[in-house]
């Protein structure tokens, strides 16, 4: 018996608006299609009518999880067009915020993955620990989401010496928390049964379809913008890029857990080496010179790219935003093939999707 099973755009197993059509043969998915575009807000178009500071506020609203990444990347674009050199301390603060954001994003995804698997106690445990990171972000920036830490030419808020010590000691606590989570995730039978061998994406397919971020690294593709094209102050820190070869959902869990350790390491180095000096270049409204720039940033989900075209005045001529889910979503139908309907929700969620970002 063959059926077409529709999932979404509103469905209990999905947190995001995506519509997936599964062509099934009994329990097995023979083919699948995904449809996006349910949350198109016209942000790119709106950005053409705004100046650089207004656009920072606007692009932060593209995504609720990786809001800092968008502001960070947009600011880098404007700085590249204008040839601005950002003060070292400002760059370090940006990186610290970006890495804290990665931590909370990965904790969030790990929790959701556990929830879909049915391991609700680990889901609650992870989300409880995630509050630790959220509290740090709130203390540092004043907000739980949409941190507003970036301005063109630097950071908007400084890190006090007290806060610096507090984040450093919280890093040690987070490491022990992660040890516990990693131990459960790698030894628990339920998680292994639901994730090992499920939703496999081979290395060749990942390369061909241009998968990015932890999703690609779980398929054995060794890419990371932070290491391959060091921007901001990432060149100053030593960190490893975890790569796992098996390409299934289990590998994606492993990669993200291992990445959390590296993020804590980067935050520790940044705080210990935090240079003295100004955090930004002042509060003047910047003109955007005539010209064009494309900047990349390794957001929690993978490579994020912004293109900005300036017209010589205060406003943007064009802003184009492409999020990691843009590259990873087309791999979903490929991963679904040959799996059972029961695993569909988990496989779709395994790319850490952000379809609202994708639609912009």
């Amino acid at each position: 018996m063959s059926y077409i099973v529709p999932i979404g755009p509103y469905h209990p197993a999905l947190e995001e608006p995506i519509h997936a059509k599964l062509y099934t043969e009994g329990e097995v998915i023979k083919d699948a299609e995904v449809f996006v575009g349910y949350n198109h807000r016209g942000i790119e178009k709106l950005a053409t009518e705004r100046n650089a500071i207004q656009t920072l506020v606007l692009v932060e609203r593209v995504c609720g999880i990786c809001s800092h990444s968008h502001a960070f990347t947009y600011a880098m674009c404007v700085e590249t067009i204008n040839g601005l050199e950002v003060p070292k301390r400002g760059e370090y603060i940006r990186v610290i915020t970006a890495e804290l954001e990665r931590l909370h994003s990965h904790f969030l995804w790990l929790g959701i993955a556990c929830h879909i698997i049915g391991h609700d106690s680990l889901f609650m445990h992870i989300w409880d620990e995630r509050e630790l990171v959220m509290d740090l972000l709130e203390k540092m920036t004043g907000n739980r989401v949409n941190y507003a830490m970036v301005t063109v030419g630097g950071a908007r808020r400084d890190i006090s010496d007290e806060l610096r010590k507090e984040i450093l000691s919280a890093g040690d606590k987070l490491k022990s928390v992660l040890d516990r989570i990693a131990e459960i995730a790698t030894t628990d039978k339920t998680i292994a049964l639901r994730t090992k061998g499920v939703g496999v994406l081979t290395r060749e397919d990942a390369l061909r379809m241009g998968a990015v971020g932890p999703h690609a690294r779980a398929s054995g593709v060794d890419i990371d913008v932070r290491r391959d094209a060091p921007y901001s102050s990432y060149g100053d820190f030593k960190f490893k890029v975890p790569v796992v070869d098996s390409g299934d959902v289990y590998a994606r869990v492993l990669v993200r857990v291992l990445e959390c350790y590296e993020s804590i390491e980067i935050i520790r180095q940044a705080l210990e080496m935090l240079p003295e000096g100004p955090i930004n270049l002042g509060n003047k409204l910047p003109k955007i010179k005539e010209g064009q720039a494309v900047c990349r940033h390794e957001a929690p989900r993978g490579q994020l790219s912004h293109m900005v075209v300036g017209d010589g005045g205060f406003n943007n001529h064009r802003v184009s935003i492409h999020v990691p889910s843009y590259k990873n979503t087309p791999t979903v139908p490929h991963m679904l093939r040959g799996n059972t309907v029961a695993d569909a929700g988990l496989i779709i969620a395994s790319i850490d999707p952000c379809f609202s970002c994708l639609d912009r």
Binding site: G37, M76, G83, A229, V294, M307, H317, R318, S320
Partner: protein, 132 residues
Amino acid sequence: MQEYKRTDIGKEQILPLAERMRREGRQLVMIHGFINGEGQLDISYDYAVDPAIESYHVVGETTLPSIGDIYDTAATWPERELNELFAVEFEGLDTSKRLFLPEDMLETQGKGQIMVMPLKELVEKNLGGDVK
């Protein structure tokens, strides 16, 4: 600040360039498009040649070859998006479905106006002139 190199190419160079980049294992970051100051369409193929981005621009063309055979969905999704939002067609690209716009806007295929018209004009046309 990140490195960004701009090169202008003709449309006949798009396919050989994509083949060379694919052979070298370069990643296609994105295909971007915008209307430049002279009102011409500027499509750029941005490749990651670490640590820089090499950007190859094709200016003033409305029909381009699709590189979907070489880069698969990494190229076809941006091409479909550009096809919807700008007046540009890609030869060999399957455009029977919509990526972002509603399915009932299929008749505007390859004549997209969304990113071409100024916001004010777009609002006036679709909502009547009575908008502040």
